[in-house]
Symmetry: C2
Subunit: 190 residues, 2 copies
């Protein structure tokens, strides 16, 4: 998605080979027209997948997922990051390790919102190690639903997330795939 | 806002005199057309206030704030709930007590996103004790900006939030004001 790549080049900030700041348009401040364009692009990419629900993880995934949900006219569900593991028939939970924070949270979904037969598009802002996406897929499948698509806004293609997802049987589609970063430098996959 | 009140009556669930579950359309699962209507209503209510930015608090405020930002064509900023207090020229922070969780978080804003002269509309999903809204107003004013409006999706009008905000000089506008709740019963202000 050319508009997004250009925006990353002008307003993103690579601090080192690992950390990309996009908080002036994706994470902390949001640029509504850009976010609308992102939602429209996800809708275009996944229009033939029979998507019934969009699922994301709080809180940075909410904006792109909501815009995609509006463009695709399907309900959207926000998985919560819970500190505690709760055993309940009403909840689906799985532990997810956050490399950014160095802690584990319980990715949590109320079972009433995703059901057997649903075809779910998972959307998130970043793909790096793939932990969050793999966790989301586990929860969606615990609910008896199908992961019918994975849409990522920005992928760090030099990290193992995509490979892990493909090995697990998923096919993530990313709007911007970064092949290389160092302080002040961002390069995309061709 | 009649559409929202009707939805609360049909799909909301008052557990007791204090807890209202709206997680099937506001918090956990989001109904995109309803959220668009909420954003449009905020845009209509605050259209003459010269709003330059919309600010909300992660994560339940993001959806209504984003829809309002799209309707008003202004950038939107998400204040973060940080665990730690960080002294930095780059951040504005204030402690906020969460009655729901019984803990205090540091409401955090990067100073680059809200500046002197900005006219900020604060949007949140709930108004109850007013702690979050008062904290948000402190942070906006630390940044040198003006709180030009406060828009709330659902107000528990039987709790002291509105009174505290008015005493502090703000004038919150809520789309649905609940005057009374008990298990299975929700009543609105006339």
């Amino acid at each position: 998605m050319e508009l997004l790549k250009q925006r990353i080049l002008t307003d993103g900030k690579a601090l080192n080979s690992d950390v990309l700041l996009v908080d002036s348009f994706i994470n902390h401040q949001i640029d509504p027209p850009l976010m609308q364009a992102i939602g429209d692009e996800f809708a275009r990419l996944f229009k033939d997948q029979g998507i019934t629900h969009i699922v994301t993880i709080e809180s940075s995934g909410i904006a792109p997922a909501l815009m995609a949900a509006i463009a695709m006219d399907v309900p959207m569900v926000i998985m919560k990051k819970s500190i505690s593991s709760i055993l309940s028939e009403e909840l689906h939970q799985t532990p997810v390790y956050s490399f950014t924070k160095g802690t584990t949270y319980q990715l949590t979904l109320k079972s009433q919102f995703i059901k057997k037969g649903d075809r779910v598009l998972f959307i998130d802002d970043f793909l790096a190690n793939g932990e969050a996406a793999l966790g989301a897929a586990r929860v969606i499948e615990m609910a008896g639903a199908t992961v019918a698509g994975m849409g990522i806004v920005i992928e760090k293609a030099f990290q193992p997330g995509r490979e892990r997802l493909i090995q697990a049987g998923y096919a993530p589609i990313s709007l911007a795939r970064i092949s290389y970063m160092e302080a002040g430098v961002v390069e995309f996959e061709p």
